[in-house]
Symmetry: C2
Subunit: 150 residues, 2 copies
């Protein structure tokens, strides 16, 4: 209806142009009709769909989960058990990551605070990396808990 170019859709949704095309390529976003010259022309439904995806990404859902949630929202009469389950799973995951990061934060704080800022050989940062026994607690108890990313 509104006939949006991909750039306009990007502006309105807050999702970058290449990302929009990427979403289409993996089947996350419906492929829109094209102009006579082959350019994508979106409507308000696409905008809504894209905002849904963006919001979900901001809340940390993976694209697979968002696909499932999208599918569910297209069937409004069904019970919402599955949607709630996905959200609870996501919450648990976020809590797990926070716990891991908190443990890491405490250790980083400790090593930064305790360094007397002399030479490398006496540097608490380097010493701690060389020897986990200088750590106060257990960060990352399971192998590879929680970091990286933007």
């Amino acid at each position: 209806m509104t006939d949006l170019s991909i750039g306009r859709l990007a502006t309105l949704s807050g999702v970058k142009v290449p990302t929009i095309r990427y979403y289409e390529s993996i089947g996350m976003l419906d492929a829109p009709p094209r102009s006579p010259g082959g350019q994508r022309r979106y409507d308000d439904d696409h905008l809504e769909q894209l905002r849904f995806i963006r919001h979900g990404r901001e809340l940390g859902f993976g694209l697979d989960d968002l696909r499932a949630l999208q599918d569910l929202s297209a069937r409004p009469d069904r019970p919402c058990e599955e949607a709630d389950g996905i959200a609870r799973k996501q919450l648990a995951e976020v809590e797990r990551r926070i716990a891991g990061l908190e443990a890491v934060r405490r250790e980083l704080e400790r090593m930064v605070e305790r360094c007397s800022h002399g030479v490398v050989d006496e540097c608490r940062v380097i010493q701690t990396l060389s020897d986990h026994h200088l750590c106060a607690g257990d960060h990352a108890p399971d192998h590879q808990t929680a970091l990286r990313d933007t």
Copy 2:
């Protein structure tokens, strides 16, 4: 000295065999001598080096930072400013991620709690994803703050 196979090194260090080979391939871990048949033979220095890397990874440092920290620890007479700087940068990054995840956690909690578990059309989870105005605060204020990963 101790002549460790890659499997033994993996066990002792807690780093998986393919990851050890990967580290060597990108120059993170010194390439060890080989047995007559071409298999890797490590010593205690390799083990120490690998534990350093692993500990650093657990604390969330990127491999680039760890390379820099490794280089520094090889020059014990230099001032530790740079090492401390890397650690403080990492601490700031971790704090940033925690803040982002906390915001996300609050919203996820909110949507899960408020759902009355009826049909999808009335599901607070789906509704919230469709409309950020149902959120209480601002999660992910800058574009793309902080999730994913194990």
